[in-house]
Symmetry: C2
Subunit: 223 residues, 2 copies
DNA sequence: GCTAAATTTGTCGGATATGATAAATAATAA
DNA sequence: TTATTATTTATCATATCCGACAAATTTAGC
């Protein structure tokens, strides 16, 4: 079993960013997306943004101080703008360059979404080390991924690969005794009501201690 | 009481980004930071990055395909580079432009941090509507802020201002009955073991129902 | 359809960025 | 120190960006 053991159901439910079926690839996906773009992409961004605001090239020129012809050429990728002109454009449009470049400037922020979970909601997903139930799977592009998990593993040997990602994890023990194993720390025993917040960029794995399986509520950051 | 009611202790513990004592200003802080920079700042960024990697201008030229003299002038803000050259530089340095511009390219990502909370850990902070205990307050710059709260309010009238921020909130009921009030939805009753994930950009407030105060575990996204 | 206005795209001169090479400065060694 | 080398900055020719205005295209009204 590998790192996705207590994570692959989550992966299934966030398809766009889950390249390898590993939950924490979601963040990787974000990073990759924001990093990959060229002058044309940026031009398209700008064009889309201008259209969505229903501005003409002239309006643009007036607001930003960059000539209409220049904006036109930038939009069509005919040449690659100077940082200075990009700044003027961003300033005139009241957005920051980062979002202009990363292509998030035109995204509408989700508003008022809500997803309720009953005590036993969520399709169960079994692995050899735990049973996962992803909470609020209907909401996409969440910043946090809440999961309720029953940890069935009793020994770290049950894990072939330990989990690792560039995310952060918060874990709260609902019942039983959970042992958090980490490459950087001694095993940590957590009882009911206890919790831990840790960087997932260090390898880690979970096991239960005692007769009953530990039940945990945990969230992993997605960006 | 205002929006920070069940959030102001959190604010206290993330001083840099908590301008107005409102928890979700953390996000605002991030945004503001990433938006403010000019060509010179970018040049300084680049210079710092080059130095930290112990590269000469020639090395740079070799790796990026941008001439040493050009890089030198960019670093000193003598002119504003083209998006194309910025791309070449970013590519050669194996970073994405966004982080180069936003100034995060040279930051070291926290590694292997960990913070454990006992069942009753965290200094209590009383407000007129609830008792908050911020979990893992010793970790700074977290992507999620975990809080354990006892909701003492019985009626929405106890709130003067409802909470609102550009964050996302996950809430899990540990005991009692919590009622989630929202400007967009009918009041939602949540019993023990039930949970909800919602966008905090719509005004909301929490109350307890029944004789005992509801005990909830909740996390709010910070970026 | 046509006409007129609005909007976008092309042209060209001037401004600015970039690259090759030289000059200047800083670092290193004897 | 001086000599030597490494590194950065300045010079200048060339390529590219940018702005003003003209040409072409699209849109709107009839």
């Amino acid at each position: 079993m590998e790192k996705s053991k207590h994570q692959d159901e989550a992966a299934e439910l966030q398809p766009t960013s889950m390249i390898q079926g590993v939950l924490t690839q979601s963040e990787l996906g974000e990073v990759e997306r924001s990093g990959s773009f060229d002058a044309i992409a940026m031009g398209e961004q700008l064009h889309a943004l201008r259209k969505s605001r229903k501005l003409t090239l002239q309006d643009m020129a007036r607001q930003t101080g960059v000539s209409a012809s220049a904006v036109s050429k930038i939009e069509r990728g005919e040449f690659s703008p100077t940082l200075g002109t990009m700044q003027r454009i961003a300033e005139g449009l009241k957005i920051d360059i980062v979002s202009l470049l990363s292509g998030t400037s035109n995204e509408v922020q989700p508003y008022g979404r809500r997803s309720v979970n009953s005590a036993d909601s969520g399709r169960q997903h079994l692995t050899s080390t735990c049973v996962n139930r992803l909470l609020s799977p209907d909401l996409r592009e969440k910043r946090m991924l809440p999961v309720r998990t029953t940890v069935t593993a009793r020994h770290v040997d049950d894990y072939i690969d330990w989990a690792r990602s560039d995310s952060e994890i918060f874990l709260f023990v609902l019942s039983g005794i959970l042992v958090l194993h980490s490459r950087a720390y001694e095993p940590l025993r957590l009882k009911m009501g206890e919790s831990v917040y840790y960087d997932a960029n260090i390898q880690h794995a979970w096991t239960s201690e005692g007769d009953t399986d530990a039940e945990v509520l945990w969230l992993i950051s997605t960006r």
